[in-house]
Amino acid sequence: MPRRDVMHGSRAVAEAVRLCDVKVVAAYPITPQTHIVEDIAEMLANGEFDAEYIMVESEHSAMSACIGASATGARTFTATASQGLALMHEVLWIASGMRLPIVMVNANRALSAPINIWNDQSDSIAERDSGWVQIYVETAQEALDSVIQAYRIAEHEDVLLPVMVCMDGFVLTHTVEPVEVPDKEQVAEYLPELRLPHVLDPEKPVTMGALGDPNYYMECRKQQEIAMEHALRHAEQADEEFRGIFGRGYGLFEEYNMQDAEVVLVTMGSVAGTVKETIDMLGADVGLLRLRLFRPFPKEAVRRALSEAKVVNVIEKDVSVGFGEGALMTELKSVLYGSDVRVLGTVAGLGGRDITTEHVRQAIERAERALRGEKVEEVAWAGLKEEAL
């Protein structure tokens, strides 16, 4: 029987790891990921499920151990954040290049310097080209459900790519929300046992991680791209089947109040709650597109969803320093290239600065002024203290 409970987002992730019958967990503690790995350790200590838990000495080794475990054929999990993800950078590319279906939760946190433990999404967005599927979630429930879906997507024989589930640090990891914990048998029905085509096994020796010279390297990269195309299809399918079994799904992105909306806000993660709140509060004729699947990017579907929009304002918790805007804004302009949609950007919430309904209202107002043909800033920094610059 599914169990309804209230719990921290971190606990919801740990519940998902238990439900997925993960065999090997390798993790290194970092704020705000700690509650996830603590809760998993507690579950293991109480015999709630059985897995090998490697308390590694760094995130680099966490991902390296995950690669070794996954290559040996075990379902593998890790979690990290910020500096930890950055330290993993080298091995993230190897995990995806070796096509290992590792699932990782990233508790989104700002990158140093200055050192800052609070939420933004610069850490995972900086890894957008690492070959990992990336899912950004809004709620604790979605975090739990997305981890289950992540294994389903990652382990599909046409995909075999690692998946990163990105949840806003503190905002989701440390807040208590009502969560429905699915039944383990139902999860087992949804998620079959892991069977990889190639594993490290003395019965059938294989060489993994060979040297790929210029004759072979490009094809490996292209195969990853093809796998990403498959991942797009399978992510959609995994979500639909999930809905069929568990009665809830999320799509590749969420559309809110999009009917006839000429102004659309686009964002990722937990701030979508504040955006919806603001739209409702203002009773505004403004839509929201909350992107859930950032990699592979559902280009066609997003283009279709925004075909009636006139102005889009992207609210995002990251900035590409030197390019003057966030990565999502840049990518959206690329996706909408050739259409008449005007794309504006709002850099917000860096290093955990609150994004308030007032900031969202300003973003809407700016988009509406643009819609009326007024001259507006391309990119605005919400809540910036100009006097402190």
Binding site: E52, H60, S64, C66, A71, A74, D201, G209
Partner: protein
């Protein structure tokens, strides 16, 4: 099973030059040809080649010997992880491979961490009896892989880490590592008008490994194959982490002729530049004591990397060796 199956041990021994002395197990200074234990060990060596020929190692490469012999001991029921380096590059250029056992290379600094994951997965999946060996060169072990190795040793994984030490970053063109000996010229510690080459002494990695309190640590040399294989066997048989540090010659890196590779490696041991010992459950034991202590100068003279050294610097090295010799053998 023996490599020389069908032939007698006497015939085997006939192939061994008379200067090869058996000081392996018995400690006697008999010629190997006359030692029963030596003959028995030779007979027990598997003739199965799990590290295949045809790889791209240099002629005379000492490190490939370390790979090949370790696998002869381990047999087929093993999974190997490997750090980036010479041995990885020469053994796995897709679509070829020299590995007849399951093998994985991930990156430079994480062979031990990958092995942790492999070992944990085997346990989680209930696959029993499969051994795990992690290979790394000296750079991948004493420098960039130091942290991952320390973590894996401390956590008590059941695996064997084998460091093949050719005393510099040979794969990238002979750059200095923490394992480069005093005075050696490398491309990043060259000898010049105001430089005598590498200014520091070799990092004592085996003793650092031993400080982790792991059940087995050993030093070895490719010039003493039976001693090395016996140590690998012991390392594999003991539960928990084991560390084997095998000194392995590099012909281009040391500036030696291919056919001198093993001779030079042997002289490293006979001069005291490298000492063969093991530490089993905290108890240290020297496994080979040279009958004649050869001057360090003889060892240095054979290699281009030391050719520039003045008598003054050679004396420094000799003093360093003498001190260690005294510490280990208790005599001058």
């Amino acid at each position: 099973m023996g490599r020389f199956e069908g032939g007698s041990a006497v015939k085997v021994a006939a192939d061994i030059p008379s200067y090869v002395r058996c000081r392996h197990v018995c400690g006697a200074s008999l010629a190997a040809t006359r030692c029963f234990k030596f003959r028995k060990l030779v007979k027990e060596v598997s003739d199965e080649e799990l590290f295949a020929s045809g790889h791209r190692g240099c002629a005379g490469c000492g490190c490939t010997v370390a790979m090949r012999l370790a696998l002869k001991v381990a047999g087929r029921n093993v999974i190997v992880t490997h750090a980036t380096g010479c041995m990885e590059v020469i053994s796995s250029p897709y679509p070829e491979t020299a590995w007849r056992v399951p093998w994985i290379h991930v990156a430079f600094e994480n062979s031990a961490a990958v092995a942790s994951g492999v070992e944990a997965a085997l346990r989680a999946l209930g696959k029993k009896g499969i051994k795990v060996i992690a290979f790394g060169g000296d750079g991948g072990t004493v420098d960039i892989g130091f942290q991952a190795l320390s973590g894996a040793l401390e956590r008590g994984h059941d695996f064997v880490y084998i460091c093949y030490d050719n005393e510099a970053y040979m794969n990238t063109g002979i750059q200095r590592s923490g394992a480069t000996p005093y005075g050696a010229a490398t491309t990043t510690s060259p000898a010049g008008r105001v430089s005598f080459g590498n200014r520091t002494f070799k990092k004592d990695m085996p003793r650092i490994a031993a400080a982790h309190g792991i059940p087995y640590v050993a030093t070895a040399s490719v010039a003493f194959p039976l001693d090395y294989m016996e140590k690998v066997r012991k390392a594999l048989s003991i539960e928990g982490p084991a560390y084997v540090h095998v000194h392995a010659s590099c012909t281009p890196g040391w500036g030696i002729a291919s056919e001198k590779s093993i001779e030079v490696a042997r002289l490293a041991v006979d001069s005291g530049m490298w000492i063969l010992y093991e530490i089993e459950h905290g108890k240290a034991r020297v496994t080979y004591k040279p009958t004649v202590k050869r001057p360090v100068k003889e060892y240095l003279r054979m290699q281009k990397r030391f050719r520039h050294l003045s008598d003054e610097h050679i004396a420094v090295l000799q003093r360093y060796v003498d001190e260690r010799w005294k510490e280990v053998f208790g005599e001058d």
